[in-house]
Amino acid sequence: MANYVAPSPEALRTRPPSRLLSASEESTVLMRLRRRLLLASLRQALKTARFRLALVVALTLFFWAGLFLLLYETFHFLASYIGSQGALHNQVVQFTFDVFFCSLLVMLMFSAGIIFYGALFRSPETIYLLTLPLRPGRVVLYKFQETVLLSSWGFLLLGSPMLVAYGVVTGAPWTYYALLAPMMVAFVYIPCSIGALCCLAIARWLPRFRMSLLGGTAALVVGLAGYAIWSVVAGDRSDLLTERWFHHTLNRLSFTSSYLLPSWWLSSGLLQAARAGSPIDGAGFTQSLWFLALLVSNAMLGQVATHALGSRVLRASYSRLHTGPSGGTHRGGKWIDRITMAVTFPLPHQVRLLILKDLRVFRRDPVQWAQFLIFFGLLGLYFLNIRRVTYDVDHTLWVNMISFLNLAVVGLILSTFTTRFIFPMISLEGSRFWILGLLPIERDTILWGKFLFAAVGAAIPSTVLILISDLMLRVAPLVVVIHQITCLLLCAGLSGLAVGMGALMPNLKEQSPSKIAAGFGGTLNLVLSALYIIIVVALTAVPCHFYLAAQPAGVQLPEELQTRLIRGIWISTGLAVGVGVLATFVPLYRGLRAFRRLQF
């Protein structure tokens, strides 16, 4: 560096001015950047993480194929009752598609708005792009495309097997399959644009109320969805799934078939395309093209509106958002801290302090508890209404099956949370390990603290939810006890897995918990968690099923047989406890060993 010869002052004075790019040139440069980033990530994945990549692709294909088969059977079943063409068929399928796409429309609007906010206003890349001589509208479009991709992959993964299965069952012509992709992509753009426009408007004009607005709207949508579900299942239970009930349901959800909704345009366009080959309606293809044009034109309008609004407000919005008042002070202990310290009194003081620290971090990060609240809130809503939703709540075996399925669902949701939030905890400590690492505590204490935080934090809502489900289903007291034991096993096992695997496979370079969770370690943790849930639930569910199957209502079993069946339940539960202990302590033990050796 010392050898560097500086250019002469004259040369510096006569430097050529840089040139401002045209809009299309800006677009080309950003597209090239995106392509470079994509190729580099792909090359790196192929070079260093082939197994992970193969696993992700295989799991995606497996999920897609499983969903396709399930939906193929569903449509096949439907076709066997209402035919694969005709007015009744169209009415039922249109209704199903309308409800499905309308729900996705609302969800996509929300997810796109939130993702767009993060991508545009919280990303370091935006800060960088805003210091370059770029048009603000181009930055907005660049981030909008990212948003469309990130918010819609779930929709494409869920929607494509359904629509392909429908096409196969109804014998749709090739034009139907050709129109699937453009229709779905055009549809996705519309809710994404609405979400992005709302996000830009809130950031510009109501930045201080963004969290209240988001929370309020989310609560409103959940409330409306809850009301819609309630209104569908409310009424006389003997009416459920009868023709009258079906007509009532159609009427109550008829708002999803409004001509003004893009979801209706999509479902109508798809149905027309599927009918195109049938002798009933030769004009179907033309009509489907008309719906495609409607979707595409609205998608383009959405993009133009996003660009136009973004061009006007981006810089001002960014400035307002980043110069708002800082968060309030957090002085003194809150009641929740005092309760936490009180209820954890048997634990060593250092572990209690670590639990308290993790709890504070958790509750001050709305991303974590908001998702937790929404999913567990929806589950609670479902469990409270389970007697209305479930078809045959008086049949013991049916009730038993539903109750164990509820247990499995709670476990599966819990596993996504332990993977998303608990697994990355050790990795995230990497950059701030100078705090924990220099404290006069054993490294083991840190890991035990995280495990207890996760296990107790998961156990409280999960056991309450399962208890609600059992009480609503009026399951036998013995099964309630088994459910509670199983639930505790799930909480402990999933937490042990997440903490242990997190310590075994840390990613100390990454700062984003979602990226850590989406990595190989996170994926493996999720797969192992799912396997664990299946094994534990099956071990407890099967003997309970035999126990209940052997004694129909009102029939008293011989005492010996009853004793043997109950013994079978307890043996099986004992096995489940054994599996639970293994799943909890083996990963924790391995994690502890790895964590002691870990160099930060």
Binding site: M1, A2, R19, R32, L134, P325
Partner: protein
């Protein structure tokens, strides 16, 4: 080149920058000093167009940074305190992207990249992904990116953090050479020795208010302490503004504090008028 007129920036009820008036001329190295939270980074973010002033106006190369953001950005090279690099790009790819963004034709971009690679000695790692870089390597790459389009105004926020002594020397030489070539350098730093060595003028900001603008010599003259270092004078100035005893206690320190306190308002006013 940089004109700041009656600029104010609030963060909610807190005023980060209050009625800031400042002009930094072409070919000048200006060091912006002040304690943490004084408003230095906020001012820099307003100059580069990331934040907009609550009141007042900023012009860079004659372009208003709010109304003509693209034009002013095109004049500026910016080295932030927490730089962003694309992890999955190599240093060269990053520089290519920036060159293209500033409208250079492909061949010319390569020429500019070669110049910066040589200047900042990036050759050993410029073709590796930036996620593998150390802090110092990243900082040098960011400097190369900021210099690639040969900006007329260079805005640097804490330039020396994480650099080794050779790189610090290089950056100091670079700042002075750029100024000699007509580039305006606006630098925020806590490294007072660097400011003393390279800056033509310094500005001391405290709680959003500009307390002093002028040369180090002017500051020494005012305090009638020609032997004192910038560090000592700066500490006295800030301590006086805080209303506390001097950080550097000795016999006549108390009187110095009184002097500084009395002089504070008149200094910032008079020196700015002169500039």
């Amino acid at each position: 080149m940089i004109e700041i007129e009656h600029v104010r920036r609030n963060y909610g009820p807190t005023t980060a920058v209050a009625d800031l008036n400042l002009t930094v001329k072409q070919g000048e190295v200006f060091a912006f000093l002040g304690p943490n939270g004084a408003g230095k980074t906020t001012t820099i973010k307003m100059i580069v167009g990331l934040l907009q002033p609550s009141a007042g106006a900023i012009r860079v190369c004659g372009h208003d940074v709010v109304r003509k953001a693209r034009e002013s950005s095109a004049c500026i090279g910016y080295v932030p305190d927490e730089p962003h690099l694309y992890d999955k790009l190599t240093g060269r790819e990053l520089l290519q992207f920036i060159g293209e963004m500033y409208g250079f034709p492909t061949g010319e971009v390569d020429r500019h990249i070669a110049r910066e690679v040589e200047r900042f000695q990036l050759g050993e790692f410029v073709d590796n992904l930036t996620e593998t870089y150390s802090h110092g390597m990243k900082q040098r790459t960011v400097f190369a990116a900021a210099m690639l389009h040969q900006p007329r105004v260079l805005v640097v926020d804490e330039p020396m953090v994480g650099l080794d002594p050779h790189s610090i020397r290089l950056v100091k030489d670079l700042l002075m050479q750029q100024a000699a070539g007509g580039c305006t350098v606006f630098m925020s730093t806590h490294t007072l020795s660097v400011a003393e060595e390279v800056a033509d003028r310094i500005g001391v900001v405290h709680r959003g208010r500009l307390m002093f603008v002028g040369t180090v010599h002017e500051l020494q003259t005012h305090f009638a302490r020609p032997d004192r270092t910038l560090e000592r004078l700066y500490l006295d100035l800030v301590d006086a503004a805080e209303g506390r005893a001097s950080s550097v206690e000795n016999g006549d320190e108390h009187q110095d504090l009184q002097d500084a306190d009395d002089a504070e308002a008149t200094w910032s006013q008079s020196t700015e008028t002169e500039s």
